[in-house]
């Protein structure tokens, strides 16, 4: 395996959890809900994914555990913000703190234990092709799932009635309600979808990225996913571009440091953030498109009057 190929493989591994979490949050925000608890849902997903794999012996069931636990956290968020109309920002922050604490408690027993890795798929012949074989046909299921999600979310949002309703609810919930759309139901479903994606993203960390449990192992990736959604102006393909760009620059600076490039390491560590923000800001110059894509009701609570 060449050095170049291995770098590309690590880029994919670094980008996938960001992509999973961001694409879920994109749907949540398109429906007008701002869930700042992505980090919390991810870390609970990470520990539950690890625990699930340990308990069942199957990393796939571990991933299912991660997904369900993310949804559980999201359900709590939905109940508080949609049902009880709590402040979304405060609740999201609380969800992150809760997730960090909860995962530390659950994961205490797992610290230092070897994990079970979710390995890449093997397709005879194709996976063994030179250069592209492992890259295109030897990834794990979650990588393909994340890419399928981008395509699926893009299609649903812009080509189906369900997506139209999600966008409408995010743009003007009062009008959507007047048209007979159940705003809260749409938002609940979106929040649950976002939770499932965030949980899966966390599971990816503890099952693929570094198959073990380390406290606080999400290391701010939930926040990066949130930022990606905004800088990508709520468009799925841009989230894809942003996640891979962030992953790529992150890995490259790592390699550059390893090869002793004489730039302060703090600066190198900041590079992925700077590069991602710069590129996404440049591609979002078109203000009209940006405004049309920004959910106007983002973060605004909705109480149906009856």
């Amino acid at each position: 395996m060449g050095a170049f190929e291995s770098i590309l493989l690590t880029v994919i591994t670094a980008a996938t959890p960001l992509l999973l979490a961001a694409i879920g949050e994109l749907v949540v925000e398109r429906s007008g809900v701002l869930n700042l608890g992505v980090e919390g849902m991810m870390i609970v997903g990470a520990v539950m994914g690890f625990a699930g794999a340990q308990a069942t012996g199957s990393p796939y069931l571990g991933a299912v555990f991660a997904l369900l636990s993310g949804m559980g956290m999201a359900l709590l968020f939905g109940f508080l913000t949609l049902h009880l109309v709590a402040n979304q920002v405060a609740t999201g922050l609380a969800l992150t703190l809760l997730g960090l604490g909860l995962s530390g408690m659950i994961g205490e027993a797992f610290v230092g234990q070897p994990g079970i890795r979710l390995t890449g798929i093997e397709i005879p012949v194709l996976s063994d092709l030179p250069l592209v074989g492992r890259l295109l046909f030897g990834q794990d299921v979650l990588v393909y799932l994340s890419l399928a999600l981008v395509a699926g979310v893009s299609y649903v949002l812009f080509r189906t009635r369900a997506g139209l309703i999600i966008r409408a609810v995010g743009d003007n919930h009062a009008s959507a309600h007047a048209l007979g759309v159940s705003v809260l139901k749409v938002r609940y479903l979106a929040v649950l979808f976002g939770g499932a994606c965030a949980g899966l993203a966390g599971g990816y960390l503890s099952l693929v990225y570094t198959p073990q449990w380390v406290e606080g192992m999400t290391a701010g990736r939930g926040w990066i996913a949130l930022a990606l959604v905004v800088f990508a102006t709520w468009r799925p393909l841009r989230v894809l571009a942003g996640a891979y760009l962030f992953g790529a620059v992150g890995i490259l600076q790592f390699h550059a440091q390893a090869h002793g490039v004489a730039i302060p390491s703090q600066f190198m560590s900041a590079l992925p953030y700077v590069a991602t923000i710069a590129v996404l800001v440049i591609i979002s110059r078109n203000r009209i498109l940006t405004r049309v894509n920004t959910p106007a009701c983002l973060g605004r609570p909705f109480v149906p009057d009856r």
Partner: protein
């Protein structure tokens, strides 16, 4: 089909009404807390009839309409639709029955296209291409030009209303409810709407038409129900009434005609705009181009125009919320103020009332006395001394405004958000008028305010000018403009026409200018 209703106890003898009964609302009651918004209201709507629902703000019209459209549940009462008692639990159910609604404040999704907006209101299962074709066809049939792929945010108010109407028509409704449809239209656009409505009525559609513009009601409506304080006070044939008698029924007392007084000859120029220009600040803002205008002491100058033609931008430039590029562009008194902030302009004797009363004119969560402090902290009322607030003085001023401008409140010194729209508007205008400013600039002084309060505000504006102030009113309401203005200028796409004495103008001419269509307009307003 012949469920004929002749026993309606609440009104007197009504002339022959045509059409079969479509919807019969009986004894509708809706309570919000302690307020009885609808008190045993009955209403009969017939096929082919344009039925006016008249009443002041807060008379209960909107509540009744929301109940008919399924957006609110009544506490008591029955709805009989084509002879069957029904409960309308949601707007979707109302639409399924055949009730469509065109909202007063548009219920459109700005970020979506015309076709997407319409698709949302229709039952699922229709391909997008077929829908776009149907939109084109209906808009052709009724003369309502629409481009299905345009994004709503880019469209003017008149076009947005067309979307609402086409959306409603595509549902093939038997009853269309229209809430204040002409409040945002030019006279020409309104005429076009009336043609559409009359055609719909001929086709057998029932129309419930909510308005407080009486001449419109007299012109197109066959029957009228008048509400006051949540009750039906009268049903009548509006063509057999006078505008005065209808207004009396709505308000419960006679609305006084305004006293115009005499314009003093050639007062000093108190407010001068000279070659005022500003670039658009964003994709949805309008550029202001070379505006010249003098407002003299003693006169009311009105700026007419359709919403979104640069009124808010002009207001911001005059008030100092936005600075001009040169100091000479705005002169207040005799001092160039184009680069001065809003407080400096206030100190020079100017006062400003923005269009949006809640959030711009007043902070919703602050008490009225605190809101008072926000605009008058440094205008010589002694409300701030040595950096400390004199709350008792603010409270006394608040009481004075409350009394002089008839601001009604449930308890003393409430938060601004607790006031109804009309009452808050009276307060926001009263706050500035109470200062007796030399220059008053007010944007939409009576927007969404009922007839009684509007008359009060208009009279105060005229009186202020006659006492020697220069008053500049920006308004979309032509009735209002012709009632109060001595000179009228028209703003269209950021350009202002010359200010012409009101006597020399007709509504039609102003309407054409508003649409930017006037060829022989002099001065800055060109034929675009």
């Amino acid at each position: 089909m012949t469920v004929d209703d002749t026993t309606n106890p609440q009104h007197g003898v009504v002339g022959e009404r045509r059409g079969t009964v479509l919807l019969d609302a009986r004894g509708i009651t809706k309570r919000f807390g302690e307020i009885l918004a609808n008190d045993t209201v009955s209403l009969t709507l017939r096929a082919g009839e344009i039925h006016a629902l008249l009443g002041e703000n807060g008379a209960g019209k909107s509540t009744l309409v929301k109940i008919l459209y399924g957006a609110l549940d009544p506490n008591a009462g029955d709805l009989v639709w084509q002879g069957q008692t029904v409960t309308i639990a949601s707007p979707a159910e109302a639409r399924a029955l055949g009730i469509g609604m065109v909202f007063q404040h548009f219920s459109l999704f700005e970020a979506l296209t015309v076709a997407e907006n319409i698709a949302l209101a229709l039952p699922p299962g229709q391909s997008f291409r077929a829908l776009s074709e149907r939109i084109r066809q209906v808009s052709r049939d009724y003369g309502l030009t629409l481009d299905p792929s345009a994004i709503v945010a880019d469209l003017s108010v008149g076009v947005r209303q067309r979307i609402e109407i086409v959306r409603c028509l595509l549902q093939e409704p038997k009853l269309i409810i229209m809430d204040e449809p002409t409040s945002v239209l030019t006279p020409q656009e309104a005429d076009q709407l009336f043609v559409t409505l009359e055609r719909l009525a001929l086709e057998g559609c029932a129309i419930l038409y909510i308005s407080h513009r009486l001449e419109e009601v007299q012109r197109i409506c066959h029957h009228a129900t008048i509400m006051r304080h949540g009750k039906v006070v009268m049903e009548c044939d509006p063509t057999k009434e006078t505008a005065g008698s209808l207004a009396r029924l709505m308000v419960g007392s006679a609305v006084h005609d305004l006293k115009r007084g005499v314009v003093p000859r050639e007062g000093d120029v108190r407010l001068a705009l000279k070659d005022l220009s500003a670039e658009a600040e964003g994709p949805f803002s309008v550029a202001i181009e070379n505006i010249d205008l003098d407002v003299r002491a003693g006169e009311v100058v009105a700026i007419a125009g359709i919403a979104g033609n640069g009124q808010s931008e002009l207001f911001e430039l005059v008030s100092g919320e936005r600075l001009s590029s040169s100091a000479d562009a705005v002169t207040i008194g005799a001092v160039p103020m184009g680069r001065a902030g809003i407080t400096k302009r206030r100190r020079a004797g100017a006062a400003f009332v923005p269009e949006e009363r809640l959030g711009h004119g007043a902070v919703p969560g602050l008490k009225l006395s605190e809101n008072l402090l926000l605009t008058r902290h440094s205008t010589g009322d002694g409300l701030v001394q040595g950096g400390f607030l004199k709350r008792d003085r603010a409270g006394a001023l608040e009481q004075r405004i409350k009394t002089n401008f008839d601001v009604r409140m449930s308890h003393d010194d409430p938060e601004a958000r607790a006031l109804s729209g009309g009452n808050l508007q009276k307060f926001v205008i009263g706050r500035e008028l109470d200062r007796q400013p030399d220059v008053l600039v007010v944007n939409q002084p009576t927007w969404g305010v009922d007839a009684g309060a509007a008359a009060l505000i208009r009279q105060e504006l005229i009186d202020l000018s006659r006492n020697g102030a220069a008053v500049l009113v920006i308004s979309q309401d032509l009735d209002e403009i012709f009632e109060i203005a001595d000179r009228i200028a028209v703003i269209s796409r950021g350009k202002l026409s010359d200010a012409i004495p009101a006597q020399k103008l007709t509504r039609e001419r102003v309407g054409l200018l508003m649409a930017g269509l006037d060829e022989d307009s002099g001065g800055a307003g060109d034929a675009a």
